[in-house]
Subunit: 122 residues, 2 copies
Amino acid sequence: MSDHPHPVDAAAVARARTRIPDAFEAEQVTSVLTLIADPTRMRLLFALDAAEELCVGDLAQALDASEDAVGYGLRMLRTAGLVTRRKEGRMGFYRLADGFPEPLRQHCLIRLAELSSTAPRG
Amino acid sequence: MSDHPHPVDAAAVARARTRIPDAFEAEQVTSVLTLIADPTRMRLLFALDAAEELCVGDLAQALDASEDAVGYGLRMLRTAGLVTRRKEGRMGFYRLADGFPEPLRQHCLIRLAELSSTAPRG
DNA sequence: GCAACATCCGTACACCCGTGCGGATGACGA
DNA sequence: TCGTCATCCGCACGGGTGTACGGATGTTGC
């Protein structure tokens, strides 16, 4: 249990507490991250960032994935508001949402590749 | 299946393919992201970034979480090489690994809070 | 209207993951 | 050596998640 009666380093604990987000805040942030931390969805975002707009079939072809997987991924991203859909006839065209967090786009979609290379376990 | 005989927008598909990471590469990147996309582990990283070094008990106290949860999170992070452990007597002190990706630290640990605020579904 | 089509949705299933519990390991104090 | 302590590990359970399948929705062309 957490029956740690006294902190070993109270100062460090206090210092940490000033920067640790509370459970709710962390939940909020990680929910967005969890959405991106999936191979299919991440590749979808890369594709939409590069091509501006694509329909489901073309996305499945570009990713070489099943339309089910692509459709599910797009639904998640759309529910979260990260992508938008424009319906034209019997098909829907997806693109990154207008409100797509720009820092997320820059830091993740552009610089994420280098992250993996600098990671300890490349 | 992806029996989409012909792409609707071949140019866009080609443009997307130039930027889409392959499945293996995406798997590699998202594995690191998945590790961070967990409330407990994210808060652990925030804590270690702020306090430099902390033992398990103090971390549990700082996060107000069980030592089991903290221990499990630290094990994941340590296995991935994101944190290191220094044993001193019967307790272990954790800190961010020397090779901890600096861009990840800057972009995630420092600017991640604002990301959630700019997200469409804040 | 009818058939083929692109996409969406509901369901079911297998899988992974985080947590809690109990016990094990190694270290301190007497 | 004995008891206590901080942490770690093996195990099993519950919950969430991605995928495949089948059917529904709405569209296009005849």
